[in-house]
Structures are given as structure tokens and as C-alpha cells.
Amino acid sequence: MTTATQNISPTNGDARRWAPPRLIETNWVRWAVALGVAGYLILAFASINVNWARVFEGMARAGRLFEGFLTPNFTARWSDIQQGMIESLTMTVTATVAGVALAIPFGLGAARNLTPWWIYGICRGVIAVSRALHELIVAIFFVVMFGFGPFAGFLTLCISTIGFLSKLLADDIEEIDPAQVDAIRATGAGFWQVIDFAVASQVLPRLVGLTTYKVDINFRESSVIGIVGAGGIGATLNTALDRYEFDTAAAILLIIIVIVMACEYTSGAIRKRFA
């Protein structure tokens, strides 16, 4: 016992030191990287042109914006707001439903442990394409193709739902417990029965969680893509800002915040139910 205590006491004179291993072992390389990063940051900040006069001008406008926020005006443009909201919510719900309906088959197809390589390749390709472009750019395309209005928004959100949901669903399916799948296969179950009993039951909570999450993302997106003409509350917001009606804009933003929060709480409750 005494020997053990002596061995771990610091007075024992054990000269071994320890420091965590470094990310870059060579000293001069490490310093060169650090200096390079610092130099780049300095140059980058130096290259930003700030027009201070313009900033002060903007300050005044920001003041009016905040003033408008303190006195949101729901009534002046209520019918516009109402129509925009209904459009946005319709877009959100229809696009999420249609998007999920399409995302599930693509998600199944893009899971390497379920499908042969060529189906996998096609589905991963579709997913990659639908994720490649930002919603705003897709929305601009659809507005050009189908004209202003919520239909362009609906299509945009559908595409983004497919990209988002099928990728995450596929990744999730690839990580399921294979033993449960084997057990169901061993009973003589068919492919779709295996999907139903062994796969769906394992990924369902996550699918529900992702879907409810995507509902509030889609609602927020719907207010953004409205700005490029894809309908919904974004269009109303854009008009209000163009007219310098900051009080109406503030009212719209407040409604958006409330709805997003409501979505958040609802989806939390739903996720808990499905855990």
C-alpha cells in the first residue's frame, strides 16, 4: 500500500511529461499556417469597403424600421396579409405532403443496404440535383417557367423537401440495426413486409421528426421565396418594404415569428409522442 502511494506521488521524481498530440507535428509548419491565417484575415478585412456616410444614412432608416416594429400595424393591409398568409400556409402544407410522398421512395432507393447499385445511383443522383441549388434560385427558375404565384413556390418547396428528407431518410436507413432485418427476412417475409416491419418501424420516429421540422423550414422558406415572386406572405412583405410601410412589415414579421414558434412547439410535442 505504501509503495503504491509513493509511486503516484509527485515527489517521486518521475520525469515523464505529457502533452496532447498536436494537429500539425512540425513546428515551423504549424507557425506558418497560423501566420498565414492571420495575414489573410487582416488583408480580407482591409479589403472591405465601408461607405460610412451611407451607413449613417441607413441608421436613420433603421431607426424608422425599429419604430415601426414598436407600433406594428395589423389593420391597414389586413386583407393582403391574410391572403399572403393563407397562400404561404397552403404552399407549406401541400408542398410538404407532396414532397414527403416523393421523398420516401427516393429515400428507400438511396439506401445502399436495401437497393442494388443502379437504383442507388439514380436515387442519389436525383437527391444531389435537388439539393444542388438554393431554394431562391430554384424559385426564380420556376417563376420564369410558370409565372408569378404560389404554384412556383409549391414546386420549389417540393424539390427542397425531396432533397432534404430523402437524403436524411436514406442515411438513417443505412444505419438501422441489420439484425432486426435479418430476423424478419428469416421468417420468409417478402421485401415490402421486411420494409414495413423491420425498416419502417426503426426509422419512423426520425421520419416524423424530420417531417415536422421540414414543415417549419418550408414555412420560413415560403416567406423568403415570395420575395422573388413565388407567392405567399413573402410577396406581401416585399410590397410592404417597397412602400416603406414598416409598421405593416413589422406586423407580418411578428405573425411569421408566432407561426414558426407554434410549429416548433407542435412538432416538439409530436416528436415526443412518436419517440
Binding site: A179, A183, A186, T187, S201, Q202, P205
Partner: protein
């Protein structure tokens, strides 16, 4: 009942798991398959219902050559073979009843199973089996709410509800405590003799195997090195199967149920695992 001829399995990674295994199991016969980790025990029984595709060799279940079947006829053959797994392999988020009824999937159409509308005869059978394994109180509990022993009983009921002719049992007790292990082994052997079922039981625990299984097959590095009655498992035989170890002392510990790892200690250079990976 089951006839395996010259079975070889080589995995894509290049590992050879089975090198020409031939084995015959008579109707109603239960055999214990023992051997060190990596000897190919799991591969062998998974080849029987082709969860693992054998590289070459033939397997006959009764008159059916399992190794020649294609997808639909393979599904039909799988209905005749029940399987019980080491980690139970229950579908964790489904209820006990759904897990048991999943044993009937091979006989049920897709839409009927999707809406969980199984024929009344299947439900009756499932209830009877749950009663037999002592889980009638837990019918609507989710599988992940059960204890290890209870889960294994669900696994047994799921295999038996198939009304199989043959059981593949992969390390049924490896995740269970010694007492539950014995109870599960007793239940399994009773059920097999009640139903005149033939079975292959992969088992790590030599003492448990000797206690419940009359015939033992020893597998080492993908080859059968022993096939005979369990009374004849002498220290020499165990050395052929597992490698060098002081087996006389372990054998004296029969009643302790845990031969694995808690036996005698030898210098590390004599550890069998180092010799037979």
C-alpha cells in the same frame, strides 16, 4: 431432416469461414455446435436459411435443396425454418404480439400484414405460444420494455409461430445471466421435444451444452473436428476444438455455468485465441 454437404463459404473480404462442412441432423434431433469465436458457427447456421449465401456445397431440408432455391421458393423454405438469435433481434419498437405475429409474415399477404390484420388462427396460435413461454401478461408491451429473458422468450415464440420443421438457434444464452440461460435452454429443449423439432444450437458455454444437448459438433477454423455424444467431451477433445487450456479444472466447475473466461489463468502466450483467430 437436414443434410449439409461439403459447404464452403468465403466472404468477399477474403476470409474463409467454412471449409467443406458436412453434417446430417435427424428428425427430432438437437445438436449443439461449439467452437471458438470465428470458427464459423454463425456462418454455418445462416447458410441454412441463406441469410448468408454459401460459396459452394449443398443443403437439403427434407427433400428441398435449399441451396438451389430462388427468391419465392426460398421464402417458402424459410417459413419452414425458425431462427432464434443471440441478441434476440426483436423489432424493438413493435409490441410483443406484433413481434410474434411477424413469424407468420411468410404466410400473410402484404396488405393484411400492413394493416396488422392477421388471420384469427394465427392470432390464436400466437396467444397459445405466449402463454406457453409465460408472457401472456406482456402482449401489448413494446419489445424494448422487456428484460433479456423475456425478450428471448418472445424470440422463441416468434420462431415457433412459424410452425417450423427445423430450428436454427444462434447463441441463445450469450446475453443472459446463468440462471436465465438455463431456463431458456430448458424451455428450448422441452419445446423441441414436444414438437419433435430438429435444431442446431450454436452455443459458447460448453457446460450448458453438455447439460442440455446430447450430441455435440465441434467446429474449428471452418472445419468439423468433433461430432459425438456430449459425454465424450474430454479435455483432449476440447483442446482439439478450442486449443490448449487446462480443461480439467474448468470441467470441475460445471455447476457454475460460466466456463468462459473465468476458468484457469495461463500465460498469455498460450491463449487459444491467439492461435486460432
Amino acid at each position: 431432416m437436414l443434410r449439409i454437404e461439403q459447404l464452403h463459404k468465403r466472404y468477399k473480404t477474403g476470409d474463409t469461414a467454412l471449409r467443406g462442412v458436412s453434417l446430417t441432423v435427424a428428425p427430432g434431433e438437437i445438436i449443439g455446435l461449439i467452437g471458438p469465436s470465428g470458427a464459423g458457427k454463425s456462418t454455418l447456421i445462416r447458410c441454412v436459411n441463406r441469410l448468408v449465401e454459401p460459396t459452394s456445397g449443398r443443403i437439403f431440408l427434407g427433400d428441398t435443396e435449399v441451396t438451389r432455391l430462388t427468391s419465392n421458393s426460398l421464402r417458402h423454405a424459410r417459413r419452414r425454418i425458425g431462427m432464434i438469435f443471440q441478441e434476440y433481434s426483436l423489432v424493438e419498437r413493435l409490441t410483443v404480439m406484433e413481434n410474434v405475429l411477424s413469424g407468420r409474415l411468410g404466410y400473410t399477404g402484404f396488405w393484411a400484414s400492413w394493416f396488422r390484420r392477421f388471420p384469427q388462427t394465427d392470432i390464436k396460435l400466437a396467444f397459445a405460444l405466449l402463454e406457453r413461454v409465460g408472457l401472456i401478461e406482456q402482449v401489448d408491451k413494446r419489445a424494448d420494455a422487456l428484460s433479456g429473458g423475456q425478450r428471448q422468450r418472445v424470440g422463441i415464440a416468434r420462431a415457433l409461430v412459424q410452425e417450423p420443421e427445423f430450428l436454427l438457434i444462434d447463441e441463445p444464452t450469450a446475453s443472459l445471466d446463468p440462471k436465465t440461460s438455463r431456463q431458456v435452454m430448458r424451455l428450448l429443449t422441452e419445446l423441441c421435444s414436444e414438437r419433435r423439432l430438429a435444431a442446431i444450437v450454436n452455443i459458447h458455454d460448453v457446460a450448458l451444452a453438455q447439460m442440455f444437448l446430447p450430441r455435440i459438433v465441434g467446429l474449428r477454423a471452418g472445419e468439423i473436428v468433433y461430432d459425438g455424444p456430449s459425454e465424450n467431451l474430454s479435455p483432449e477433445v476440447l483442446t482439439t476444438i478450442y486449443g490448449d487450456e487446462d480443461w480439467t479444472q474448468s470441467a470441475a466447475r460445471d455447476d457454475n455455468d460460466d466456463l468462459d473466461g473465468h476458468g484457469t489463468h495461463r500465460p498469455p502466450d498460450l491463449e487459444p485465441a491467439a492461435q486460432y483467430p
